[in-house]
Symmetry: C2
Amino acid sequence: MDEVIADTTTGMVNWYKENFGGDINYTKMLAGQSLVKGFPEEHQAIVRQQLYEPGFFRNLPVMKHSIEVLKEMNKRYELFIVSAATEFPNSLKEKFDWLQEHFPFVTWHQVVLCGTKKLMHGDFMIDDHARHLHSFNGKTYLFSAPHNLNEKHFERINDWKHAAELFLQ
Amino acid sequence: MDEVIADTTTGMVNWYKENFGGDINYTKMLAGQSLVKGFPEEHQAIVRQQLYEPGFFRNLPVMKHSIEVLKEMNKRYELFIVSAATEFPNSLKEKFDWLQEHFPFVTWHQVVLCGTKKLMHGDFMIDDHARHLHSFNGKTYLFSAPHNLNEKHFERINDWKHAAELFLQ
């Protein structure tokens, strides 16, 4: 979900701007960094704390074109949304409710909220974290996000238009 | 979780007795039935509704000997708790909090809350539902519960003392 269909970076940057203002070039700061470490060092603890706060995950923007492409993929594939969520217990119901709002064609049967993704197997996995792709048995795609720009070991999906070219042609 | 480490039947029977009283032999009624269908027909809708209510899963009793046996299994195996939970969105955080309270040695990395369990693979799966065991790649064990007494297709684990004999000898 995060950084693939939910725009966690934009959500965090928006929250940061509202609370700390400033003219900083966040995109440049975040490039190649973890979401938290891309922010100024003196604010990293409070940025990280935000991930545990009620409401943060519920209100994230949706990644561009993800709804239309996943709606079509859902007709052609056995689709699952697998999200690393248990580290942030407040996110569990929020992520589910967010999916129901924005991706109502994804039923409760198709949702997995987990810690590690080591148990998952299947034909394809699209993820923004190399650590989740490493243990997967099927074909893997790294979904490009600011934090993974320096990762060299996986075939990439740049955005959801690109995903449509790969999965819906 | 339900009917394996969380005693969902006892939780529901206790709730039913508090609300409807009576001297009915619930164990006999529930044998071979789904949790809901074991109750009198006129109350099945309200019993089922209980599964969606806040607090139901958070307050379930723990299955006898499950803590001590899983604590030891957690030292010897790579253990995961995989629970069908997304059908009941209020249960998501409640199940996680319940685990933290009763099984604090299970970290957030080891928890999976899902709809179907079709994505899971591993060496062993212990579950009370045949439908979850059917799709598993490894060795399967049916954990005996009132609702599955008529199921004939799987090797059984009768209780956690029995699990200890199989996994900790």
